[in-house]
């Protein structure tokens, strides 16, 4: 039994290594081929982020034993994950907002280029506004 599970752990470790190599190669390849726009996203998203999710699942399921736990344990984990998103989206609209509905900010945002001449300072401010 013990030898068996050790073998399984080793297999998963090797699988994680291979997935890691793919996740590094994907974005590198996109750079080498000089991909831009949609095709670049189509390559990078599944190789970097998609594989990261697969790896996280493998670690949680096997190394953290969620696969052998009773079903409520993974449910609690998934619920916590979902609540993290609830929290993030509930908070995002309020936090670090540079403008609001019924309030205005009487001071100017520091731009980080305050030591330079006035024109570029002004440009910077406009750019930041566009961004919002």
């Amino acid at each position: 039994m013990a030898g068996n599970s050790l073998k399984k752990y080793n297999q998963i470790y090797v699988a994680l290594l291979i997935l890691f190599i793919i996740s590094v190669l994907g974005p590198e390849l996109a750079d080498i081929l000089g991909m831009e726009g949609l095709s670049r996203m189509a390559l990078i998203l599944p190789t970097a982020f998609g594989i990261a999710i697969v790896k996280a699942y493998m670690v949680a399921a096997h190394f953290m034993h969620l696969k052998t736990e009773k079903i409520y344990a993974p449910y609690i984990l998934l619920a916590s994950l979902a609540l993290m998103f609830v929290f993030f989206f509930g908070v995002k609209i309020d936090i670090m907002a540079a403008e609001g509905h019924n309030w205005e900010k009487p001071y100017e945002e520091p731009t980080g280029s305050a030591g330079h001449h006035g024109d570029s300072h002004h440009d910077h401010g406009e750019k930041a506004d566009d961004h919002h």
Binding site: K70, G90, V91, I95
Partner: protein, 575 residues
């Protein structure tokens, strides 16, 4: 589901019980009952401190500037510190330890029919961390600058910088104490969930679990899932206080509203974390003393789960006037009004349980019934406060204060008394005196209402919270308003005095109370199968098997009006 997960390894050293010293038996015990008592007595001791704080600052409000008996003159800084620590103690060091930790520890193994928690040493560690947190909090009152005075919600920038709150040591110590307390309850909560899921008696299916156990488990899950942001926020705030970071400092790029989100994302589910065990205790007591089956067991269970899920979507109703996005205010008003539905389902189910029952008005039953009435007032006023428009006027007034005392007092105080009067025979093998119990009940309930009904009126009249002396505000200094403050304060003193009969009754009954047999209330659940008080290992005659649900009262096929879960009947044992 049938296996009994015992903690044999951890218990090997307990097999020679006669050799145990006082220290190993009562202080470093891994027995769930002893740990439950440790939590209970620590909680009661902290409740005395919290009650004393309330007495001191209420006296200051009623008779501003005069010396308070047993305290002396109340300075503004002392007033802030007293108010802050009254709230903190009553929620984190009274409601949580007594309702969840003490009752959970005592009841879970007994009610599901096993010998102990599945992780007894984690359980012991949980209490030790909790005790440490209480010591840190109490120590914070005696450091230079005094205890933290920035309200139990600890909003920055007041809480973040010593130059504002003037408590350079008190504020970080308060924060560390709260965080330690949370660690203690995470350990306890994991233990509760794992025990109930793995160590139930043979034959006990999901729907045979007593409702109070379900509620403690769901409360533990809510706590686990909500507490992460607060711990993260507490570390950030501690860094702001001590290391000079600026997470919550708007003048240096931080955002103080972020703390409010982190706090209330935990803070609102926390209300239900303490509510649910109290609701469960009340359900047990009402079924036993109405001799009726719990009405709509599954409906209550599903409503509880729905309540738990919804409780994660309402937190920003505490922040309607903190400058949150108005679109979010619509959303959070809606969810807040929605959450009254599952609570209403539960209250209606409880009332339906009473309908047609043969009700016995024992002290425990009286407390359980008063829970329904008082909590209803707290719940209904919550609907007004949950509407963002009304909240703009009522926010931060005594109306809010009276509202949440009408929820927390039933939960923390009435729920605790219900449990103690009901399970005292099981805990200590003797009954408490009923006459003194009833005197305690009426004195407590009447004076409680006399405290907080005037505060509703004062709040609606515009009296703001966290003000040291209302005589400095011409609009709030009128004689009529001051009369109500004096009335509330006198009622508080009366209520505190009425706790003396309880304490005396408790101590005297420990030694001289009427001896109780195994099942003095003729109830069905498994804890009444064990001897009173249960020995180490709980069930010396072998672990009980379960044949039916926990509330089979007045069954038509049976002469006795109760049918214990473990008694084999005409049905075959379920597997």
């Amino acid at each position: 589901m049938a296996e009994v997960a015992t903690a044999d390894v951890a218990h090997d050293d307990h097999h020679h019980e006669h050799e145990e010293s006082f220290w190993s038996k009562y202080v470093f015990s891994t027995d769930h009952k002893i740990i439950g008592f440790q939590y209970m007595f620590t909680g009661i001791a902290m409740a005395l401190i919290g009650g004393y704080f309330a007495y001191v600052f209420r006296m200051q409000l009623a008779f501003p500037g005069s010396s308070v008996p047993f305290f002396g003159l109340v300075s503004p800084a002392a007033y802030n510190s007293l108010v802050t620590n009254h709230g903190t103690i009553m929620i984190f060091w009274v409601a949580m330890p007594v309702l969840i930790a003490a009752m959970g520890n005592f009841l879970i193994p007994l009610m599901i029919g096993c010998d102990d928690m599945v992780f007894p040493r984690v359980n012991r560690l949980s209490y030790q961390i909790f005790l440490l947190s209480a010591i840190v909090l109490i120590a914070s009152f005696f450091v230079p600058g005094g205890g933290f005075g920035g309200a139990w919600t600890a909003y920055p920038p007041l809480s973040a910088m010593a130059k504002y709150n003037a408590t350079p040591f008190g504020a970080p110590m308060w924060l560390i104490a709260v965080t330690l307390e949370i660690v203690a309850f995470l350990l306890g909560g994991i233990n509760f969930i794992t025990t109930v899921m793995n160590a139930r008696a043979k034959g006990m299916r999901m729907y045979d679990i007593p409702i109070v156990i379900w509620m403690i488990v769901i409360a533990s899950m809510l706590f686990m899932a909500s507490v992460g942001p607060l711990v993260a926020g507490a570390v950030m705030l501690l860094f702001d206080q001590t290391l000079g970071t600026t997470f919550f400092d708007a003048s240096a790029g931080g955002d103080p509203v972020l703390w409010q989100h982190l706090f209330w994302f935990f803070g609102h589910p926390e209300v239900y974390v303490v509510l649910l065990p109290a609701m469960g205790i009340v359900a047990e007591v009402m079924c036993t003393f109405a001799r009726k089956k719990l009405f709509a067991y599954k409906m209550i269970l599903y409503a509880t789960i729905g309540l738990g899920i919804l409780s994660f979507f309402v937190w920003a109703h505490h922040q309607f006037i903190s400058g949150v996005d108005p679109r979010a205010a619509y959303l959070f008003t809606t969810t807040t009004l929605l959450i009254s539905i599952p609570v209403a389902i539960m209250l209606f189910a409880y009332i339906a349980t009473l309908y047609g029952g043969s009700i016995q008005f024992t002290t425990a039953m009286l407390f359980a019934l008063s829970f329904l009435a008082e909590f209803l007032i707290g719940g209904v006023t919550g609907i007004w406060l949950g509407s963002s428009g009304v909240d703009i006027y009522l926010h931060d007034t005594y109306f809010v204060l009276a509202h949440f005392h009408y929820t927390f007092f039933p939960i923390a105080i009435i729920g605790t008394y219900t449990a103690i009067y009901y399970w005292f025979p099981k805990m200590f093998g003797r009954k408490m005196n009923e006459t003194w119990g009833k005197i305690h009940f009426w004195g407590t309930i009447i004076s409680f209402n006399c405290i907080f009904i005037p505060l509703f009126v004062l709040g609606a009249a515009g009296q703001h919270r966290r003000i040291y002396n209302y005589q400095h505000f011409p609009d709030l200094a009128g004689a009529d308003m001051q009369d109500m403050r004096v009335f509330a304060t006198i009622s508080l003193v009366v209520m505190l005095l009425f706790q003396i009969p309880f304490i005396i009754n408790f101590i005297v009954s420990l030694k001289y109370g009427e001896k109780a047999d195994k099942n003095p209330w003729k109830a069905n659940t498994l804890e009444w199968v064990a001897p009173s008080p249960p020995p180490h290992g709980n069930f010396p005659d072998g672990f009980p098997e379960v044949y039916r649900g926990p509330y089979e009262f007045a069954h038509p096929d049976r002469e006795d009006d109760y049918w214990p879960q473990n008694e084999p009947g005409n049905q075959k044992p379920k597997t």
